[in-house]
Symmetry: C2
Subunit: 128 residues, 2 copies
DNA sequence: TCAAGTAGCTTACGATAAGTAATTTTCAGA
DNA sequence: TCTGAAAATTACTTATCGTAAGCTACTTGA
């Protein structure tokens, strides 16, 4: 269903902002999937193992982490390495493509700091 | 279920990248929802009316556009104005908070241009 | 004046994705 | 042999999405 947007004339929808850009769209739908942004941030901050990432992202289940890592690997953003030690270890690392997402994460962090900052009354809501 | 992340100690998870940052997390899950990134881009490029946005984002249905706009309005990113002309018009505009997302959209576009550009052989992959 | 059309939604419902929990596999160490 | 941890996977429930249709208020055109 997303198919009809994948024909990209190419080149910059960026030279001036067009209303719709297939390349941008693929990117935002990819990194915007649930949990993916949090996983990428954890990895950029240095987490490399399955259980480290899981521990760094509260609320994220094994099932979804596994699924998201597979997707990111398929996209070329993450590289999975099995270290044949005993016990076997699995390391996840960002590829260059993944590392380049740092700028996006920083831009989001920046916006979030400024506009969703915890001085926000939400932070003080009753909340169980 | 996202509740237990909302207790934000505040201040920058940004001074050095922490593995998890509740503020960042709210932001990325908010703007990363399906279609939201595309809607924001369309609005940043000037589209202001319901039908203009709908036309600018192929594949997006009225139902979801309506839902997303309501969410964005509730978050303070979009302002809805009913112009009492005949026929009544509804204009949507980005607030300052919404306009500030321009930097995020540009960062994503930039990354997308570089890493997902249409010359990419991925364009012909079977697709997930 | 009456049928058809447009903008901006809303409702209904089946399909897909996400959440929760339990289970699996492989090895190490006690 | 039993326990435990890591990295999944399977089974099942619930939430979100996609598709289609309907609705209301107004306009246009015949």
């Amino acid at each position: 269903m997303i198919d009809d947007m994948d024909r990209d004339t190419g080149e910059a929808c960026m030279r001036h902002l067009t209303a719709f850009c297939p390349t941008y769209h693929r990117a935002i739908e990819l990194i915007g999937r649930r949990w993916t942004g949090a996983i990428l941030r954890a990895m950029l901050s240095g987490e490399a193992r399955f259980s480290e990432i899981a521990a760094a992202v509260p609320g994220l289940s094994d099932r979804l982490l596994s699924e998201r890592l597979k997707e990111l690997e398929a996209e070329g953003i993450v590289r999975r390495t099995v270290v044949p030690s005993t016990p076997v270890r699995v390391d996840y690392a960002l590829t260059d493509m993944g590392l380049a997402l740092n700028e996006v994460i920083v831009a989001v962090s920046h916006w979030a700091e400024h506009w969703l900052a915890p001085t926000d009354e939400r932070a003080n809501l009753p909340k169980r």
